[in-house]
């Protein structure tokens, strides 16, 4: 084992360190993580709506549904200010963290990123009508500033929520990122307005950021203008269709889902923080799909993404990475090792909330050769099962963001908008993981007994 550790120290840790310290990737991960309160608020509003409105309406509880309409209206407002415009929050957080990681003023970076994002999204929206408008009605629209073309009425000068939600995240990433890079570069080149020391710090900071911010915003505007002139498309729309949509699809293939599940486990086992290192993929690929699924639920349409960020929490990482809650159960029921039983008793309560540090280091699992195989295998098997069961539409995909500390099974049930089949799937996965762990628990128990006898 020491040989493997030395090899890891020499070859893997430097790579993981490099990935984990690339300011771009760290900012991307932290940008998503910073928006968690917003995601949770929007998600909770959706969940409440489902509980109080959608299901009771299906059950014919008309009086109840009528009574809760004020709550439904409040939920709608919460949605409008959270997940409905998620890309706006992400653009700000992305600009903030990117700037801070490059030792530039984060607030200025957030503003520049936001501005670049709004420059790059489409400010028109088209309404498709069932039939062509009469000349008189069409004139009324054109007089009011709209453009009428056959059965289509186009309204300009407005940001619609469909252009500010998670479908626009890559616009925020790419063009927000471009603006922030220019901003940081000019700040570092010291191309700034300098104010005397007597000026209050807040004023001085604003003046310092003025030239870099203006240059960044104008350059992004010029890029957008030229792009639209050359292609006839809004840059943000092009990014959504050409970059974001295919990447979201790539994240829905079993290959990437299983690979990430495997890599996270391997990294954990050797004492490297898997989700931290792989955060840019976990958050960048599967948080947008989760938000889009939540939006689909809110709109009453079918969610189209099988796999989201919380799918790992719901079906794979029960009790923490490695599905260790079932290991604790196996130890408590079958192990004869007093030391392992003592750790399992202590670790069980935190494990119910998916915190498994006590068992990872207490048992330990980290660097413990006997538990290497189940620690890697069980989550991968669980991932494969959950992925294909979801892809076969036997359970609803995850459509609600639920805090990862929510107890196993309950988490799956809530995250899928109370789909009981998801709870059953989580339970089945736990049973399968239990039987993957069990032989190794028994072997560990037997080895300890043999060592005791030999002594």
């Amino acid at each position: 084992m020491q040989g493997i550790v030395n090899w890891l120290e020499k070859y893997v840790v430097p790579i993981a360190t490099k990935i984990g310290s690339i300011p771009w990737l760290v900012a991307l991960r932290d940008g998503f993580i910073s928006t968690m309160p917003i995601t949770m608020a929007g998600s909770f509003a959706t969940l409440l709506n489902a509980l109080l409105n959608t299901y009771p309406a299906q059950w014919g509880w008309d009086g109840f549904v009528k009574g809760v309409q004020p709550i439904v209206a409040i939920d709608g407002l919460v949605w409008n200010g959270t997940l409905g415009i998620f890309a706006v929050f992400f653009a700000a957080m992305w600009g903030y963290h990117l700037s801070e990681n490059y030792h530039a003023d984060g607030l200025g970076g957030a503003l520049v990123s936001l501005s670049a994002f709004f420059i790059s999204v489409n400010t028109t929206t088209s309404l498709s009508l069932g039939k062509s408008l009469s000349k008189d009605v069409a004139k009324l629209f054109t007089d009011a500033g709209a453009t009428v073309d056959g059965k289509t009425v186009t309204l300009g000068g407005l940001f619609t929520m469909g252009q500010l939600n998670s479908a626009a995240l890559f616009t925020a990433m790419i063009l927000g990122g471009l603006a922030v890079v220019i901003y940081i570069w000019l700040l570092h080149k010291d191309i700034t307005i300098k104010m005397p020391d007597t000026v209050p710090p807040a004023v001085s900071k604003a003046f310092t950021a003025m030239i870099p911010s203006m240059a960044a915003i104008f350059i992004v505007a010029i890029v957008n203008y030229l792009f639209t002139k050359m292609t006839g498309q809004v840059f943000g729309d092009w990014i959504n269709a050409t970059i974001q949509a295919p990447l979201m699809k790539l994240g829905q293939g079993p290959g990437l889902v299983i690979l990430v599940s495997l890599l996270v486990q391997i990294l954990w086992f050797f004492g490297i923080h898997g989700p931290n290192v792989l955060g840019p993929i976990l958050e960048g690929v599967w948080t947008p799909t989760q938000n889009l699924n939540i939006e689909a639920l809110k709109n009453g349409t079918n969610p189209i993404y099988y796999w989201t960020r919380s799918s790992f929490d719901a079906y794979v990482w029960f009790g923490g990475s490695g599905g260790t809650i079932v290991l604790l159960a196996a130890i408590l029921i079958f192990s004869k090792r007093a030391d392992e039983k003592a750790v399992a008793k202590l670790a069980f309560a935190p494990g119910l909330f998916n915190i498994n540090e006590p068992v990872m280091f207490g048992l330990p699992i980290v660097l413990n050769a006997i538990y290497f195989i189940p620690f890697i295998l069980a989550p991968v098997v669980n991932t494969i099962i959950a992925y294909f069961v979801t892809a076969a539409h036997w359970v609803n995909p995850v459509t609600v963001s639920v805090p990862w500390i929510t107890p196993p099974v309950l988490l799956a049930w809530m995250a899928t908008n109370f789909d009981w089949r998801a709870a059953v799937l989580a339970l089945v996965n736990m049973v399968i993981a239990f039987f993957i762990w069990l032989p190794f628990v028994l072997a560990s128990s037997r080895m300890a007994a043999d060592e005791e006898q030999a002594a």
Binding site: V5, L8, E9, V13, A16, T17, I19, G20, S21, L267, W268, F270, G271, I272, H273, G274, N276, V277, E357, M360, F361, P364, V366, L367
Partner: protein, 74 residues
């Protein structure tokens, strides 16, 4: 005393903590057994010392990717 369960980068952790001496708080490696490192500390609040040790490691470019445990040695 505080302990750290850190399977890798132990030498860097020991070097970092052994050389830390700020605000009257310092650490000295007392024992090393497998992945467990035990440090003597001049800090009175051991919980805070364990948290400080963790934050010092996490602040390093090599430390931010590590998965380790810090606590009070009983």
């Amino acid at each position: 005393m505080i302990f750290l369960n850190a399977p890798i980068s132990q030498d860097k952790i020991i070097d970092l903590l052994n050389n830390y001496d700020e605000n009257g708080i310092s650490f000295k490696l007392k024992s090393k057994n497998g992945m467990k490192l035990v440090f003597d500390t001049t800090a009175e609040d051991l919980d805070a010392a364990a948290k400080l040790a963790k934050s010092l490691i996490k602040a390093q470019s090599w430390g931010m990717v590590l998965y380790f445990q810090a606590g009070v040695e009983k």
